[in-house]
Symmetry: C2
Subunit: 487 residues, 2 copies
């Protein structure tokens, strides 16, 4: 007989009833090959004694085992493992550690073998991030109030059911109004898809627009996750220089004489990472080229809401009368990263295709959250939030840049950003950013190591320094620590 006393152990504190625990132990023994088809199980009395449970518990476990098709009862003989079960060769249970060393049980794409996850920022350590909002300002109480109020109404409960892959109709309507009022984009709900943040917009656009080996133009420096998304779809990335006035559109025009482009990806406000803004002249010329060469412009405008000086240039989407622009934005980047709400704007048939693809990816968004945001847009709460946080971020930017200017001479070069939540800091060539990042962490400051923004054509020794998520005391403390490790 098997050493059941050690093989079957029950936990009296578990929420799982004892007979189910015993039954599951037998299933493990049978499915693992320790018990073979036609093997006899011990009598209920014997097993009860061995493992220290009541006999009725074992009887119930055996009934369960039989009802689940693992064993059978033979009159006057006992309980047997079902003879028709396939024979399993006995082997030890694997665990993840073992499993890594042996051959994989099945094969999958090796595209992601060397993928490095993005920085996880969900900690309380003092952090200079890449330029994200201060979640302490997020109007989360107001949002929750709306969420609860909606989900308590009998009509509101409907938003817990399956809805549309395009997102809440109310939020699409509210976003249409918000885009018109803040940036002159004139679209109706049929041109709008609610996404999970900007990234989903980039992914959907890439998958719809790009077949393997087709060309997409991107900046020499660019947002890494956008590059990776286009590469993932097999597209060929054509790098276009980005200078002080944004992407070099004359260069792009020359490229177009030789190669067909399916799309151009631009971040006209606060290009990522270097924060430059594309001039109006270049914007218009880019639109003209798109019209003539029939390519799509993917306009990633993640950061429009934060401008500190004049009213910003209007987005390409607002002056595009030929529908060449797929416009991507997000609430995520302006309110809180973990609240996954964004939007994609485009010609109605393109948005329909995007919604059909999105249905395969994750069906739809969280409609109640979308409805809550719709209320917040409509009752002015979002506008109040933007106004309030803009004021705070402006004073944080000013303090941050003032300290950067006075305390980091010869170490860091930068231009005062007229918008956005980060400064592009060029470090002295002798500064090893990877070492700097490690040294800072020892002093209690988390700061990026610069690898995220490098690519095959861009290797500047720079970092995006996010000032918005730190209050004044934290800015002084963080830059103090940075200075201490930079000397």
């Amino acid at each position: 007989m098997l050493p059941y006393k050690s093989l079957i152990q029950v936990d009296r504190n578990s929420s799982v009833s004892l007979h189910i625990q015993v039954c599951n132990s037998f299933i493990t023994l049978i499915s693992g090959g320790t018990l073979q088809p036609s093997d006899m199980l011990p009598s209920s009395r014997v097993l009860a004694d061995l493992i220290g449970v009541h006999r009725n518990t074992v009887k119930l476990a055996y009934e369960e085992l039989i009802s689940q098709g693992w064993a059978d009862s033979v009159a006057r003989k006992g309980i047997f493992v079902l003879s028709k079960l396939p024979i399993v060769t006995k082997r030890r249970l694997t665990n993840a550690g073992e499993q890594l060393q042996k051959k994989e049980p099945f094969t999958w794409t090796n595209k992601f073998k060397d993928a490095v996850p993005s920085r996880n920022l969900q900690s309380s350590i003092l952090t200079i991030d890449d330029g994200f909002p201060d979640v302490r300002l997020t109007p989360i109480d107001e949002l929750m109030r709306e969420y609860r109020s909606i989900s308590r109404k009998s009509y509101g409960k409907n938003f817990l059911k399956y809805g549309s892959a395009k997102g809440s109709a109310h939020l699409r309507q509210a976003i249409a109004g918000y885009l018109y009022n803040t940036r002159g984009i004139s679209v109706s709900a049929e041109n709008i898809l609610i996404t999970k943040g900007s990234q989903m917009g980039i992914y959907l656009a890439a998958q719809l627009l790009l077949a393997p080996l087709e060309n997409i133009a991107v900046g020499v420096s660019n947002y890494l996750l956008a590059d990776n998304t286009f590469k993932h779809h097999g597209a060929n990335l054509v790098r276009i220089p980005v200078y002080d006035h944004g992407m070099d559109i004359d260069y792009l025009e020359k490229v177009l004489r030789k190669r067909k482009l399916k799309a151009v990806y631009v971040i006209p406000h606060h290009h990522c990472p270097t924060t430059v803004t594309m001039s109006m002249e270049r914007r218009l010329k880019l639109l003209k080229l798109a019209r003539e060469h029939r390519f799509a412009i993917i306009e990633d405008d993640y950061d429009f809401d934060f401008h500190y000086e004049n009213k910003p240039y209007l987005p390409l989407a607002s002056i595009d009368h030929h529908q060449n622009v797929v416009y991507i934005g997000s609430v995520t980047k302006t309110v809180a990263p973990a609240l996954r709400i964004g939007f994609m704007i485009g010609p109605a048939p393109f948005i329909n295709a995007a919604a059909a693809l999105r249905e395969l990816i994750d069906k739809q968004g969280d409609t109640v959250l979308e409805e809550a945001f719709a209320v917040m847009f409509n009752n002015g709460e979002m506008e109040r939030y933007f106004r309030k946080s803009l004021k705070i971020y402006k004073s944080r930017r000013d303090l941050f840049c003032q300290v950067l200017k006075s305390e980091f001479k010869n170490k860091i070069e930068f231009t005062l950003p007229e918008g956005g939540l980060a400064v592009w800091a060029s470090f002295d060539k002798k500064t090893d950013l990877v070492k700097l990042s490690a040294a800072a962490l020892k002093k209690g400051l988390s700061i990026d190591d610069g690898t995220f923004y490098r690519n095959e054509s861009f290797s500047a020794n720079g970092l995006r320094l996010g000032f918005a998520s730190l209050d004044e005391a934290e800015i002084l403390e963080a830059l103090g620590k940075l200075k201490a490790v930079l000397k």
Copy 2:
């Protein structure tokens, strides 16, 4: 001079200030080609008179226009549209209606041209759905309480920042415990990815496992969105019959003699749509074949939590000692469709690849919501919810099936489902389900028309009738209406 009086109209009730409205109107005129480079703008006095605003408003608008790079001021002459702007040919503003009729502004995949969106169920009309939970039972107040409590704590606010593409560490831990307690699946957090519902698990698995033209085995009848996801990835679907004891594994074995399979997609509990359950014998044989032929089993177990009779068969994943199973489940399908939380279980390196892909798709989930669910799993709230709703659904199933049996003789055939939230109803061949659905809607009952479950090899005249989302009075009313249109 242009007819500015009709071209520029301001709205005094708008939240946008008047000078910005005037400025934006000029941008529209310039970018649309109505005003050309080097054109002179009217003097501020003239324009102020024409459009009925204060002269200073026009002056401010012109300043804004200049600062945004659209115009320039020439001393003692006036304001001119910037001469270096590209020339735009004047045309009318397009709208979506026009746009559909002309050539698309750019091209994209036509894969989704004929896509039909899923049924939108977010309405209050009496509905027989496909088998979804009753959102009136969703513990939304408890969930919101946890959400708020987390987001108010200073540590909890960290969950509003960017986190991990794999999902909340606490929820992954809680799901590990829940899977072990409810279904004997023994995995650790590194084997778990938190997804947006089951559908995202299917999408991620498809994209990682399937290259174009590779084979995946699926049921002759199958969940349409799974089929569509595999087809979208260019895979070849090998149809395997599904009878009363689930997928015919002997048939699968014969297929394997001739063709290499990358994966098999199964719904062993309550196969969708026909609700049959795969026998234990077949489960073990499928695992054996997977081991020998090194294919992945995608086990979609969306519905495990609802069983009314014996304890259910354990999932393949719980008796898979060779890690051939990618196990997909969701909280969405058991708590509320619009709360997008699911999970995917697999070998740790596979889960790492899935997380890297997921980062390109939408970065991550809503961490605060994930944390709130983790608390609900850990404090027993989820278990209480499952126990309570199971009891309610069992009595609804019994009533629903009793009425179906007594009132729909010769019209509908069905088997009492031992779990899940729907009955598979085979209708009399003479019944035209499309007409039935339309007639029912006229009587105030929304019911599917059967097309969703048909595919190239499955054309049964059947419907999934969801009983769970209707209370007793609604069941009687809904089936009463159905009977009235079925005679």
